[in-house]
Amino acid sequence: MDWIQTFNLTVGVILDPLTAAYILCAIGLSVHFGFTGLLNFGQAAFAAVGAYGMAIGYLTLKLPLLVAMGFALLCVVLFALILGVPTLRLRADYLAIVTIAASEVFRYLMSTSAFKDVTGGSNGLSQFGYDFFDWNPIPDGQYNFGPFNWTADQFWLRVFSFGLVGVATLLVWLMMRSPWGRVLKGIREDEDAVRSLGKNVFSYKLQSLIIGGLFAGMGGIVFVLSMSNVQPQTWVTNFTFMVWTVLLLGGAASMLGPIAGGMVFFALWVFVNEILAGMASIGWLPFLDPAQVGQVRFILIGLALMLLVIFRPQGMFGNKKELRFNG
């Protein structure tokens, strides 16, 4: 087992753009679930709409990349409206069912060969990200900070993606300390009480769905810029559940929760993988084939999620009092 490699991989993933993508999705989910109480199980779809919106905007509509990003966010708003207007009058658990179904519908629409010319079908889309690296203001070269070793492009991608994380966190902080955020928290506790105080609950829920969706859309954009392609199978329900784990690990109604949750989750994700693979390869785990390590990891993460919800529902950064009195 190569401990130095294990360490470098584990630490390296903390500042990986994919980690930032999940964090952005988790920030969006914290607006939905943590602050408004909306049970959104289709966060993958919001990210996918952002990702496909940018790729299609650039490749099919021939928009400049920055405009394509704006177009992607516009698509997210539309998607939130289409999803929200008929469903937000429903009770919370119905919303969960509808969102999970909608995200699967969207994924199948993207992978079907009927729209292959636009969506790329099951092959997805690529070759849309070059302009992004043309924007790179960081001079060429190799950048080494302790365990972090990046090329200029890798550095730029991290600056961009974690910059978005910072902006999103700041925005959520400003929103949630304002009277607007107070209405959302009231809705999380009891919709009817908030209605009786003269607030248009439906409008606030829709705003929350759109804003949380926009952060997820940014997450999707970061994800595909990092991968330099869009694949329909990325946006499976597993994606949504990983986002949920990140959020619950950090704390659903906290500012630093999604960030810390994302970093810790992916560090553990890589660490467990390396350890299990290493132990399997030197024969310490006779029942485990090295190829099975990937699946075992999912089992362990599922177990961790269950234990977390049972024993520490407020996550690492959540306020215990905000959850303790629920129910």
Partner: protein, 279 residues
């Protein structure tokens, strides 16, 4: 006395001198059951009106219908002369008709003061962009001051920073009422305000409700505590099986044989303790 409230004869559904709320032909059926069937009802402005009746009489359902929390099968009603039928509940509240709930709806994972601030109307920071742009600070200070005054009056000021979920049932009732008052309603509708509130607090709460009247607020409340009804209400409306069966001044209505039979029971006026002793 009666003629400063009523025009003409006192009977169920009688005309009022100055009604704030007028309902006509309001019905609500749940399957085959007619929960509410009110032909005509007027609530006098600036008075304290009690709505009483046995369990299942349709009092809470009527509250829900009038405030837009439930939709009637038929009916129309006007608040201050303006139609209110079909108006969503949040707009009803904005027009100045605010209600509380029988099962208290305090917002448990928010602090007491945040609960109170949420009750205020026209806080421009409740708009997303104004909220982000911090354009609500001075308004917030005014709202907080009003909230602190109300909390002091309801003896909840010591609990200001506590989570509402940590309050007792009675304190939550008080909080809900104080929160409703934050909007400075014209008509406040209280659904069993005294349920679960301890006797010492009941007294101050009664004074408080009287104080509301003095400030010009109209009060309509549902209550089973007859002593409270007699003590503070100017007018009593009795419902049974969805219909308004009697109306009148408290002293008169409570002597009405039909009301006593339907609701109060023969021994309504005697203390249970005395009854036992008398035997």
């Amino acid at each position: 006395m009666a003629n400063d409230i009523v025009v003409g004869k006192i009977e169920p559904g009688c005309k009022k001198v100055d009604p704030i709320l007028v309902a006509d032909n309001v019905t609500r059926q749940f399957g085959g059951l007619t929960a509410v069937n009110v032909e005509h009802l007027e609530i006098p402005r600036g008075k304290i009106t009690a709505l009483i009746g046995p369990n299942g009489a349709g009092k809470t359902t009527l509250f829900n219908l009038l405030t837009g929390f439930d939709k009637p099968n038929t009916g129309s009603w006007q608040f201050e002369g303006k139609n209110l039928a079909g108006v969503p509940s949040y707009k009803v509240a904005r027009r100045g008709m605010v209600r509380t709930f029988q099962l208290t709806k305090s917002l448990n994972a928010m602090t007491v003061i945040e609960n109170m601030r949420l009750g205020a109307q026209k806080q421009s920071g409740e708009n997303l962009f104004a909220g982000i742009a911090q354009m609500w600070r001075s308004q917030e200070a005014r709202i907080t001051e009003a909230a602190d005054n109300l909390l002091a009056r309801f003896k909840l000021d010591a609990k200001r920073e506590d989570y509402a979920g940590s309050l007792s049932g009675g304190q939550r009732k008080l909080l809900e009422m104080a929160r409703a008052l934050m909007s400075e309603p014209k008509l406040i509708m209280l659904d069993e305000p005294m349920a679960g509130v301890n006797p010492a607090l009941t007294q101050s709460l009664l004074e408080h409700i009287k104080g509301l009247k003095a400030n010009g607020t109209t009060v309509l409340f549902v209550e089973h505590d007859m002593h409270m009804v007699r003590h503070i209400s100017d007018w009593v409306i009795v419902m049974a099986e969805g219909k308004v069966v009697a109306e009148g001044e408290p002293s008169v209505v409570m002597k009405d044989q039909a009301v006593i039979d339907a609701y109060l029971g023969a021994h309504h006026d005697t203390d249970l303790g005395t009854m036992k002793k008398g035997k």
